[in-house]
Amino acid sequence: MAELKIDVTGETCPVPLVELRKALRKASPGEIVEVVGTHPASKKEIPMAVEALGSELVDVDEKDGIWKIRVRK
């Protein structure tokens, strides 16, 4: 399965949400989008956006302040 990766490390509000939205628009249904970032509020808000968009949150990982969120369109 194809996987789209986006890196928003160091970016702040609202860029992580915006970049996820852009990637999800490009992805095909069923495709996984992986977002990597450091902005703390976005780790909480990306799952909120995923729910609002009707996509599926696959998993959320965090290590040393860097989070990785995977979403299935």
Partner: protein, 145 residues
């Protein structure tokens, strides 16, 4: 009801101020709304229109403690340190995600702004109060900034 296709929620913001920090607020809220699956429009009027002038987007003063540009310069420095996106990037993202920019025609006259002074590439529509009400009546978020 029943078979109706659910229309996405919408956010409509009146951008009355041309202050840099308030333009940030308008664009950040709108981009957040678009990112969370809503539609969004920005209705520029009065001082807000100046930010649609060619080369005018980043030119707004700070709403408080501008101090002849010193305050703005300081805040700009802090924003750079915090890696805050430029207004240009936020506006490009806004438009890429389907956001709509509306310029108020009536106030253009009051402000002495001609269409040819405006950056017409970024304006989707020209309108007056009827356009705003039509956008806002179906909006879950509507703000006056």
């Amino acid at each position: 009801m029943g078979d109706d296709i659910k229309k996405p929620d919408k956010s409509t913001i009146i951008v009355h101020s041309g202050d840099m920090d308030k333009i940030y607020s308008a664009l950040i809220v709108s981009n957040g709304a678009l990112s969370m699956g809503m539609e969004a429009s920005l209705f520029f009027t009065f001082w807000g229109l100046q930010r649609l002038q060619k080369g005018g987007l980043e030119k707004g003063p700070l709403s408080k403690m501008h101090f002849l540009g010193l305050g703005k310069w300081m805040i700009k420095g802090r924003m750079k340190k915090a890696n805050v996106a430029s207004l240009e990037r936020l506006l490009n993202d806004f438009r890429e995600l389907g956001g709509k920019v509306i310029a108020c025609e009536m106030t253009m006259e009051i402000m002495g702004i001609d269409k040819k002074d405006l950056n017409q590439d970024i304006i989707d529509e020209y309108g007056a109060v009827g356009t705003y009400v039509n956008e806002a009546r179906n909006s879950k978020i509507t703000l006056f900034i």
